[in-house]
């Protein structure tokens, strides 16, 4: 396993574009901290984002995980191109000739996906911990380490999405088209949902249930938007007389669906490679 990671790391280490993308990803990730310094001055009213409770434990886990999950697109580019470049440089063929098995090739790519997801999750965990300790009203240990499932959901969100990217790269073989494929897939999921919701199963929950099985939809359901949980927003809502009732928790079904898709994507990538003549 270490040998496979070593091989893949060797490939990425010398690629300037991969290095730039990974570095800028982690730099952008740490920019979440900058939200703390956002201040508005509306007349005499001074408004500081950090004071609105977004950095309160345990809410910060949810909030940061949600914001950070958008930045995964940077790493998605790295993952798609680390697959498709093997095709366009024909190095995949050479790797196999040199004695790497197809299984080892897929394993080395998926291990890299796991390492990137773990690294990103760890980074987010430490960043949130520091931010929380600086700004949170409540710093009891029991409170700090509650709601940790959002960090796990973040990890799964990344892993599932990257597995999808890996599969897209294997299927399409060209980075730009593979990224296009991911975008088109997202559009198709939304169209399919629209048709289900507004044509086939009007005014029922069936459409949402079915859409919950779509890979990208299931991944995004892992992390529900956290903004309406904020005290200020809740207050505003009650004032206009519509209390927000929403389930923000991480559901086991969603976890299982994303895990399922991850396995399917890795397995399909392997099957695809196995079947292909290079």
């Amino acid at each position: 396993m270490l040998r496979l990671l070593d091989i893949e790391f060797h490939k990425l280490r010398y690629s300037r574009s991969a290095k730039i993308l990974v570095f800028s990803y982690f730099i952008l990730l740490s920019f979440i901290a900058l939200i703390a310094s956002i201040e508005f001055n509306i007349g005499s009213l001074e408004f500081r984002v950090a004071d609105q409770g977004i950095f309160n434990f345990p809410f910060i886990w949810h909030f940061n995980a949600y914001i950070a999950s958008f930045l995964k697109l940077f790493l998605a580019i790295v993952i798609v191109s680390m697959i498709s470049n093997e095709y366009s440089n024909r190095t995949l063929k050479q790797n196999l000739i040199d004695g790497l098995s197809k299984k080892e090739f897929i394993s080395s790519k998926f291990l890299t996906v796991l390492v990137l997801s773990v690294a990103s999750t760890l980074f987010l965990f430490i960043l949130s911990l520091i931010l929380g300790l600086s700004f949170s009203d409540d710093t009891e240990v029991a409170v700090i380490f509650s709601d940790m499932e959002y960090i796990f959901a973040y990890f799964l969100n990344l892993t599932g999405f990257f597995a999808f990217c890996m599969f897209a790269g294997m299927l399409i073989k060209r980075s730009a088209f593979a990224l296009g494929f991911i975008f088109i897939w997202w559009v198709l999921e939304n169209i399919a949902y629209g048709i289900l919701k507004w044509r086939l199963f009007r005014e029922t929950e069936i459409a949402d249930k079915i859409a919950g099985f779509f890979p990208l939809e299931a991944m995004s359901k892992l992390l529900v938007e956290p903004f309406s949980r904020l005290g200020a927003v809740q207050m505003a809502a009650t004032q206009i007389g519509s209390a927000i009732e929403k389930d923000y928790s991480v559901h086991l079904t969603d976890i299982l669906i994303v895990l399922g898709w991850t396995v399917i994507f890795v397995f399909l990538s392997y099957k695809l490679l196995k079947k292909r003549d290079l």
């Binding site: 440089n89 790797n95 004695g99 003549d277």
Partner: protein
Amino acid sequence: MLGAIFFKNKLSVLNSVTKAYLSSHITNISSILETILKISRLTKKFGSLTAVDQLSFSIQKGNVYGILGPNGSGKSTTLGMILNVVNKTSGDFSWFEGFESTHEALKKVGAIIEHPNFYPYMTAVQNLELVCKIKGVKKERIEEKLKIVNLLDRKDSKFRTFSLGMKQRLAIASALLNDPEILILDEPTNGLDPEGIHQIREIIRKIAAGGTTILLASHLLDEVEKVCTHVVIIGKGKKLYSGPVDGINASHGFFELKAKNTDLLIQILEGHPHIAKVSEKDGLVTAILADPMEPETINEYIFEKGLSLSYLVKRRESLEEQFLELTKQTHSA
């Protein structure tokens, strides 16, 4: 058994002069030599097209093999299958008598297929380090191998800055990293300029002299003729011939003759029992022999029949002519 070991060592120091002489003896004892690769009834179909058709041959340690065939005859597909990058349709192959899986066996093989494939953003050394990691060999050999292919002074240049000849040489260095049991080369001189071709052939010759088993696929006859001891000729995916390179020249050759009275000459020749076929073109008569015969004999025979020759030459078919003859047969078949 001692004899076999002795012979193996002997084989490894063969030079090109004794190679040809020994090759007939080698085939006799080949069954006790180590088999590196055995292919049996290997077949590949792309849709309705059969690219490789029931191909069988085996490769013994210490020989230099050539796979000869025109473009599109299935050479690369065959190599692709044994190298784990093309899926076979049916048939079988086994590396090193089948004791290990294909990808494990490939770690003991050095192979270059058509284009040199490396990571363009890495330097020569970085690329070779990666190959070392895949094959599980020590990095210490990199400099030594780069020296063999004359790339030591460019070792820290990025691969994308290399010329085709340099890329091909780097590919050879990469294939040699694990001191392979067998070196497989697919059209190694394709697209190179004369100097590049010369350099590559010199390198191949050196490696062959060191006793490494080589499998060389080519559509160039003189390349195969110059380097190989054994040849497998394929056309349209079928095996047409396999055996020692000299074996292909086993025919008795032919005479080229000229006389003032061409019609009489043809008539006399057709009457001779040892002549299989007579043809004529622009006054030059070609007589193909059915049995061995010296030019003196035919000269005397014709003179006795009352005709003087103005021109007589005995020739053997070149490998090229025989190769064309062989591949033509499959076209008409």
